[in-house]
């Protein structure tokens, strides 16, 4: 019962946050509200006992990405207010997508259903085997680093490539800035 109450409370907060994200016009407030949104999501994950996911969401979603968005928003010039555009096509698209999602949700297995497909495939084997073999209590770590080590290698390479991409796009600027910085220093002397 508590579980349901907490979930209801968090999801209604989520709706309120979403409403204010739509309403605000200031970029910085949108970034701050998005941070609050992901923090609420991580609270919901904790309530669903997915502590590792919640941890990642709190650290990456509401921590680092909020900082990066604030940096990006600070770099942008003061925006002019958009004129009212024709909202009709986007409303139709939004309604259609929500209808599809609602139909799919009706077909999902119930929360915690032991006969759900995800609980019948390889998970029982992992849960049974990993404790005796690895002597590591956190099954998530076992699956991430050992059973699915290859996938995690791929994820690490994806992050590395993302970093490389950003550096490659923005660095020529950095080098110029450095030489300018040195020149300025010399001029000061």
């Amino acid at each position: 019962m508590n579980f349901l109450l907490i979930n209801f409370f968090l999801i209604s907060l989520l709706l309120v946050t979403t409403f204010f994200i739509f309403k605000t016009t200031s970029l910085i407030s949108v970034v701050a509200l998005t941070g609050a949104f992901t923090l609420l999501c991580s609270a919901i994950y904790v309530n669903l006992d997915a502590v590792d996911v919640a941890f990642t969401e709190a650290a990456v979603g509401s921590g680092i990405s909020t900082i990066l968005m604030v940096m990006a928003a600070a770099k942008l010039p003061e925006g002019k207010k958009n004129k009212l555009i024709n909202l009709f096509p986007s409303i139709i698209l939004a309604v259609a997508i929500s209808l599809i999602l609602i139909i799919i949700i009706a077909n999902l297995p119930l929360l915690g259903d032991p006969n759900a497909p995800i609980h019948l495939h390889v998970v029982p084997e992992y849960l049974k085997e990993s404790k005796d073999f690895f002597h590591i209590p956190n099954v998530v770590t076992n699956i991430l680093a050992s059973y699915r080590g290859f996938d995690t290698l791929g994820e690490t390479i994806v992050i590395f490539t993302a970093g490389l991409g950003v550096i490659a796009l923005l660095t020529s600027n950095t080098l110029n800035r450095k030489t300018n910085f040195k020149k300025n220093k010399k001029n000061e002397r």
Binding site: K75, I136, F160, G163
Partner: protein, 145 residues
């Protein structure tokens, strides 16, 4: 913009006090990931947050002295290479790629060693990529000012 240092003494004092505990918490999440929630990804982000906080408060120049750009880039590569290197080493020890059983005489200990090394590689890469992202974003467009 570059050396725009926060004028508030509260911010600079608090961030000086917080810097070490944040890194220690990151290391805790990194190496305690086998026993509790956490692991390389989260730990990397937490450690990066400490450095980002430092360069936010004290200016980018000081942040770049703390973590020089080139060293940061080398560490980015070292993290990925450490992960892939564990896989290569296990091939040379007559195992399969990323098969940690062969890393030690006891398969269970081998798994422990493998998982800790691999998570360390993930942590290093994630932390340095986040710092690199922040520095690229923060220094972007400065030349025009």
């Amino acid at each position: 913009m570059r050396d725009k240092i926060s004028s508030s003494p509260v911010l600079s004092v608090v961030s000086k006090i917080l810097f070490a505990p944040i890194i220690i918490f990151g290391l805790y999440v990194q190496f305690h990931g086998d026993y509790g929630p956490g692991g390389g990804f989260q730990a990397g982000v937490i450690v990066a947050a400490a450095f980002i906080l430092y360069s936010m408060i004290f200016g980018l120049s000081k942040g770049e002295t703390l973590v020089p750009i080139m060293i940061n880039r080398y560490l980015m590569c070292i993290g990925v290479l450490l992960y892939a290197g564990v896989g290569i080493v296990s091939i040379f020890l007559d195992g399969m790629f990323l098969d940690y059983n062969v890393l030690s005489s006891d398969p269970s200990t081998g798994q422990h060693i493998g998982i800790i090394l691999v998570e360390l590689g993930v942590g290093i890469t994630v932390a340095t990529v986040m710092i690199a992202l922040y520095h690229s974003f923060a220094s972007f467009g400065e030349i025009n000012e």
